[in-house]
């Protein structure tokens, strides 16, 4: 009995890194390396779908260009979200400051009025 048969049931999938996948698609790997990548593709629907989809990109060089574009967009969006969040926080803080100042002003005005009223009363 051949123990390699157990590999068929095993679903342990070591992650294939992006470069390895690109090299596989470009036909740059040795037969042994190809077999290793294919073994992982068979164990992961995600990797398999991805490889099948990337295979259909006409010019493989475009893949890296698209990925770079998408990553740049992603970080831009995340940065914008972060700035919005900070702005909102700052706006909230402004309201807190304004409220404190108004309350303080009311307290001082009331105190001044009381002092004045008492001064008038003693006269």
């Amino acid at each position: 009995m051949n123990k390699d048969l157990l590999n068929i049931l095993s679903n342990s999938s070591k992650d294939i890194d992006n470069q390895q996948l690109m090299d596989y698609l470009a036909g740059k790997l040795s037969d042994e390396e190809k077999h290793q990548v294919e073994l992982q593709l068979l164990n992961s629907d995600f990797m398999n779908d991805a490889a099948e989809g990337l295979e259909t990109v006409k010019d493989k060089k475009d893949i890296n260009v698209f990925v770079d574009q998408l990553n740049r967009e992603l970080h831009k969006k995340l940065l914008r979200k972060k700035q919005k969040k900070q702005k909102r926080k700052l706006l909230q803080q402004r309201w807190v400051y304004a409220a404190v100042i108004i309350i303080l002003a009311i307290v001082i005005a009331t105190w001044l009025m009381i002092v004045k009223y008492q001064a008038l009363k003693t006269k």
Binding site: E32, F46, E52, N71, L74
Partner: protein
Amino acid sequence: MNPDRYQHISDNTLLEKFYADKDNHWLGILLQRYTMLLLGVCMKYLKNEDDAKDSVQQVFLKAIAELHKYRVEYFKSWIYMVAKNHCLMKLRDRQGKAPAMLNEQTLVIEEEVLSAQAHLDKDRILDAMTRAIEELNKEQKQCVTLFYLDKKSYTQIAEATGYSMMQVKSYIQNGKRNLKIVVERLIKQQ
């Protein structure tokens, strides 16, 4: 941003860091690990480069919004599910049909079946496998044997058998699926 700087940090650790301080910076690092794979998945289903790129962006936005709402345990399976469902929805809009969606439960069931198999005696499985392989049709048996036992690549198998690459791939995929079914049946009978 240089992704290599964070290469040693696992997906789970990045998620934990995000859940700790809710800083989207961690999600950026995590998501960009999967940009290429997501692009591939979207290409496979939508078969159009511009649609695929748009969809990856939408998947990113959806993922960011959802991750703020609830905890995700298996990020890789989850983001695949989000992307595949997004593409299936787009296809449904195009074709007016309702395709079967993936859900987290199917992902969990797969994991459970595998861990259940892990508890079984290896000799019993091996014995069942040896018998099951005989039940495959000629093409599947030939390709599965060349791939798993002789460790040949698809190209080598295609050259040796005269089948196309697509045929080799599908014989192996279907052979593998059939083997699992037969092995499970044989083990239950024992």
